[in-house]
């Protein structure tokens, strides 16, 4: 092998190694940015200004397979849809905390809550809510029961709830729980418990 060829080969080898290192570094940076973006896009809890209201939450526990009824003072808007949305965003905020008994994916949010005749509430969730939700019959069922019962506890006129994902109907939440149907508040309450 001639000297220039050897030099060229070594140069190319160095370039290849450099590009490999750059790709590795880039990959790490993208992952870090995605993580930071997910943290930034976590649920923003309802506005904290104004008079507070005693809000009832049905908080899911994966380990126990139950809903736990708790109450907390939260500042809520006056408008009905915004109020329901704020309640659910507070609930999602609890689930997004590190110590949550029922963790849900980063970026989970409630885009909107609107009402239809027949005491029906439509909850439009973010795509991240379903895409990053843990998969399992119990864990998905608990999330839905928690949403439905929390809404009903704070607005007893809400009898039925339908959950959309990013404005559209979806077959299942994360492969199990049926999202094509309407959920009645009275029929979905797995082992609800009062806070001790």
């Amino acid at each position: 092998m001639t000297r220039p060829l050897l030099i060229m080969f070594l140069v190319l080898l160095l370039i290849a190694a450099g590009l490999g290192y750059y790709a590795y570094h880039l990959n790490k940076r993208v992952a870090l940015e995605e993580q930071q973006m997910a943290q930034r896009s976590q649920v923003v809890v309802a506005p904290a200004s104004g008079p507070t209201t005693l809000v009832t939450f049905y908080v899911a526990s994966d380990a126990e397979g139950t809903l736990r009824r708790t109450q907390e003072n939260v500042a809520l808007p006056q408008e009905r849809s915004e109020r329901a949305r704020a309640v659910l965003r507070t609930l999602f905020g609890r689930y997004s905390q590190g110590s949550s008994s029922h963790p849900i994916g980063a970026g989970s949010d409630v885009r909107d809550v609107f009402f239809m005749p027949g005491n029906t509430a439509i909850v439009d969730t973010s795509a991240a809510f379903a895409d990053s939700h843990p998969s399992g019959v119990l864990v998905e069922e608990l999330t839905i029961a928690s949403i439905v019962n929390t809404l009903n506890a704070n607005d007893p006129t809400i009898a039925r709830v339908k959950i959309l994902v990013n404005g559209k109907e979806r077959d299942t939440l994360a492969g199990h729980a049926d999202l094509r149907r309407f959920y009645s508040a009275g029929s979905i309450a797995p082992g609800a418990k009062e806070t001790p």
Binding site: L5, I7, M8, L12, D62, S135, G136, E141, H176, D178
Partner: protein, 487 residues
């Protein structure tokens, strides 16, 4: 440094192109390797169960997954370790056997003896694959039993499981062909003018004679062939043919299909009824089939739809298939006939699952799931709103389960009691889980999670065995109270 000569640049460019081409070829090979062409399956028949295993293409020939092949035949523990693949297998009532192979090498060990594969062993995503050629020898060595493999038909018979049949033509008006088996069969039947075909997918049906010809005005011949993992019996005739089952499914009677009814003519006098010939007494109406108690087990997910990730290398689809096979065995030990809706790694849509389940007319449908959240075993019945029940003659698809909620709850309670008796953490609740609402039979779903903090316990033999025994015992306990279904 001097500028490189054009010759040097050309050589360097060639090196880069060759490297790039190699990388593209490698990527292409990886993509092709992962594919499993639809219908490319190996049918395996054994005394324990009959099942099909998907084949993959590698090194230019079909390969079969070692774990998928051995799991239905006993207890398997696979341990991929770098390029090594160790597997411990224990068949029912037999001693543990160790198999050891190395990725990219054709030499391995079975029971500590050297074993040469027909081509190199392949380890892909933690799963070990052996070439289909020579798989019979491998199983003969591992199971210490004779096997028979038909490579062209992709049918593998383990032990003495071949189910032969006899043909007997009884001339008459019309003639009847009696096809007799030594145990009940349940083939898929297809008809077309002059043909009736029986496709045996689950039964290890084999023919003594491949072709038979008859000089009969109705039935002219019968031929048996094996291909694509199935056995197919084709009966030919000079008119449209139909089949009836008798003797509890052990006999199929092929005869002429009834002629279509004549067009109704208004005010036409009824035709006189001819006297019954003494030589041909009317055929007695076959006795109604015996009621049966059949449990259909549906291991959730499969194929590309992996379900929950229990761990990075353990998807839900694999956990539930292993559990389903255990439940089937435990039910068989209690004298209960059970089948699996999916006995290999294939994707089935939710609606397809419901259609297949309803067609099988089971006395009980059980969907099996696994999760990496929660603890213990959760038993579910269908969540339905009572006010939405339909009382119409036609049952809406989403309310097919409504009429069976009570027996479903009874079975769920019985299984829960058995789990409790074995001190396994458990709960019972209603869930909106597809396709339970579409099942027109008592139906429950069972989701297993790890019993404690160690997620790997979910796939342990001891834990799965306890869960399977609880499920089978729970079903056996309520069997007497449930309505048996006519086939």
């Amino acid at each position: 440094m001097s500028v490189p000569s054009p010759r040097t640049l050309v050589i360097a460019a060639c090196i880069l192109i060759a490297t790039g081409r190699g990388a593209i070829q490698w990527l292409f090979h990886s993509a092709v390797f992962a594919q499993s062409p639809e219908g490319n399956q190996l049918s395996v028949y054994s005394a324990q169960s009959s099942f099909s295993v998907p084949l993959i293409s590698a090194n230019g020939q079909p390969y079969v997954g070692l774990l998928e092949l051995l799991e239905p035949l006993g207890t398997v523990e696979a341990r991929p370790d770098g390029k090594k693949y160790k597997l411990r297998f224990t068949a029912a009532g037999a001693r543990e056997v160790e198999l050891q192979f190395h990725d990219g090498k054709d030499k391995g060990k079975v029971k500590n003896d050297n074993f040469k594969l027909a081509a190199n062993f392949v380890l892909q995503n933690g799963r070990g694959y052996v070439p289909l050629a020579g798989v019979s020898e491998l199983l003969t060595r591992a199971l210490s039993t004779q096997t028979r493999f038909n490579p062209a038909a992709r049918r593998l018979f383990i032990g003495d499981v071949g189910q032969h049949f006899t043909l007997e033509l009884r001339p008459g008006s019309p003639s009847k062909l009696f096809i007799s088996f030594n145990s009940p069969v349940n083939p898929t039947i297809a008809t077309e003018p002059g043909h009736i075909r029986f496709t045996f997918r689950r039964e290890p049906v084999l023919a003594v004679v491949d072709h038979a010809s008859y000089t009969d005005p109705l039935i002219t011949g019968a031929s048996f062939s094996e291909h694509d993992g199935i056995g197919e019996l084709d009966i030919t005739g000079n008119a449209a043919l139909m089949a009836n089952f008798a003797d509890g499914g052990k006999t199929i009677i092929v005869t002429a299909a009834p002629a279509p009814p004549p067009p109704v003519v208004a005010q036409q006098a009824p035709a006189p009824v001819p006297p019954t010939s003494a030589e041909h007494p009317p055929t007695p109406t076959p006795a109604p089939a015996e009621p049966r108690f059949f449990v259909l087990i549906d291991p959730a997910h499969g194929g590309n739809e992996v379900g929950a990730a229990i761990s990075p290398t353990l998807p839900e689809k694999d956990v539930v298939l292993a559990l389903a096979r255990r439940v089937q065995r435990e039910l068989a030990n209690r004298g209960i006939n059970a089948g699996l809706l999916r006995n290999s790694d294939i994707a089935i849509s939710l609606d397809q699952r419901a259609v297949s389940a309803n067609a099988a007319r089971p006395a009980l449908y059980i969907a099996l799931h696994a999760a990496n959240t929660g603890r213990g075993v959760h038993v579910f019945t269908s969540l339905m709103d009572p006010e939405n029940y339909s009382s119409h003659d036609f049952l809406p698809w989403d309310q097919a389960q409504a009429a069976f909620l009570e027996p479903s709850a009874a079975i769920a309670g019985s299984v829960s009691a058995e789990l409790e008796a074995r001190k396994l953490p458990n709960s019972t609740m209603a869930a909106a889980l597809r396709p339970m609402n579409n099942i027109a039979a008592p139906a429950i779903a069972i989701e297993i999670a790890a019993p404690g903090d160690d997620l790997s316990q979910i796939a342990s033999n001891a834990y799965q065995e306890q869960v399977a025994q609880s499920i089978a015992a729970g079903i056996a306990a309520v069997r007497g109270k449930m309505t048996e279904v006519r086939p």
